[in-house]
């Protein structure tokens, strides 16, 4: 049993201090997961809060079969996908939403050259936009793999799918992203000319 699973076991016995440790540990990845899934700061905060309340409410039913990380991401994935279905995030996403939503692209290591830095930010902004236009399930799989660094097997467990199904989703999602990014840069070149 991993350390988080042991904490969750204590939560199931009513230990709120153990729960606080888990929230402290997971609030950042969960918030960012929902931020990239919804493109909205408010929705990400609401979903993250609801996730922890769901986690606490279901603590008595928790059985440490899989790792805790997989367990919490399975709840998060279900919430993100069902939220997108309800809110139709794909259809409503806009540049304004992206700007307000806090996934205004920011890079880990800004470039010293302002022009290059601007170009890089634009690229990441386009990428974030393209990501939000993907079907919710594809976006979730991509974020779990690249953003959260889960393995294919862990993603399969979290999303309730087989490993080949996850591989296939990731492959299609990347092909679509590459196509969108290619089209955008193509359009950009055309406009410039």
């Amino acid at each position: 049993m991993d350390n988080d699973a042991a904490l969750m076991q204590r939560v199931s016995e009513g230990d709120t201090r153990a729960f606080r440790i888990l929230v402290e540990r997971y609030q950042r990845p969960m918030y960012n997961f929902f931020l990239r899934s919804t493109g909205s700061v408010e929705d990400a905060e609401d979903l993250a809060q609801q996730l922890f309340l769901n986690l606490y409410a279901s603590a008595s039913r928790y059985r440490p079969k899989a790792s805790f990380k997989t367990y919490i991401y399975s709840i998060a994935s279900n919430m993100a996908v069902s939220f997108a279905r309800k809110a139709r995030v794909r259809d409503s996403v806009s540049l304004e939403a992206l700007a307000e939503g806090g996934i205004e692209p920011s890079v880990k290591r800004p470039d010293a050259d302002p022009a290059r830095e601007f170009e890089r930010r634009e690229l990441q902004r386009n990428y974030s936009e393209a990501l939000l236009r993907l079907p919710a399930e594809w976006r979730t799989a991509i974020e779990l793999r690249v953003g959260r660094e889960l393995s294919y097997r862990e993603i399969a467990e979290a999303m309730g799918k087989s490993v080949p199904a996850v591989e296939s989703i990731l492959f299609r999602a990347r092909e679509r992203l590459a196509l969108e990014m290619g089209n955008r840069s193509g359009r950009g070149t055309g406009n410039d000319n």
């Binding site: 960012n32 920011s106 990428y127 590459a178």
Partner: protein
């Protein structure tokens, strides 16, 4: 190895999930196929765009709001558990002490008649009442007669 198969393997390789037995075949194919090499480069750029996105700080109120939401019902439960027992217990005590105090008061105030019972009306005090007074009329009535007969 076909290019379509190679592209799946490129994705697995970039994800760190390619079996070592296939890695050699992939490297061999990439050495001879420019299209697949360029595909790999574009995929690598895509990966770095995603992993380059900065992580935002969670709102400072997230932790306190979650903790207060889970602690409040617990507090409410504890107080309602206490109230469930305290209210009926207090009611029983009030009735008990009320009866006790009432009994004591009767003993202190009311005189005891010949049968050993407390005379709550205290009618024996009325025996020495002046004739024609209301007290005398009440006394006469309680003895089954009236003032005129006497």
């Amino acid at each position: 190895m076909k290019c379509s198969e190679t592209r799946r393997d490129i994705a697995r390789e970039l994800d760190g999930e390619l079996e070592p037995s296939r890695a050699e075949a992939l490297a061999e194919h990439l050495g001879t196929c420019e299209d697949c090499r360029s595909y790999r480069e574009s995929m690598q750029r895509l990966f770095s765009l995603h992993s380059g996105l900065e992580e935002a700080e969670p709102p400072s109120m997230l932790l306190p709001s979650v903790m207060s939401a889970i602690e409040q019902p617990a507090r409410r439960d504890r107080s309602s558990w206490w109230l469930r027992f305290a209210v009926p217990a207090a009611a029983v005590l009030v009735v008990f002490f009320g009866l006790l105090a009432g009994g004591r008061l009767a003993e202190m105030v009311g005189p005891v008649n010949e049968n050993g019972q407390t005379d709550f009306f205290g009618l024996e005090y009325l025996e020495e009442l002046p004739p024609g007074s209301i007290g005398e009329l009440i006394l006469a009535d309680s003895e089954g007669g009236n003032g005129d007969e006497r």
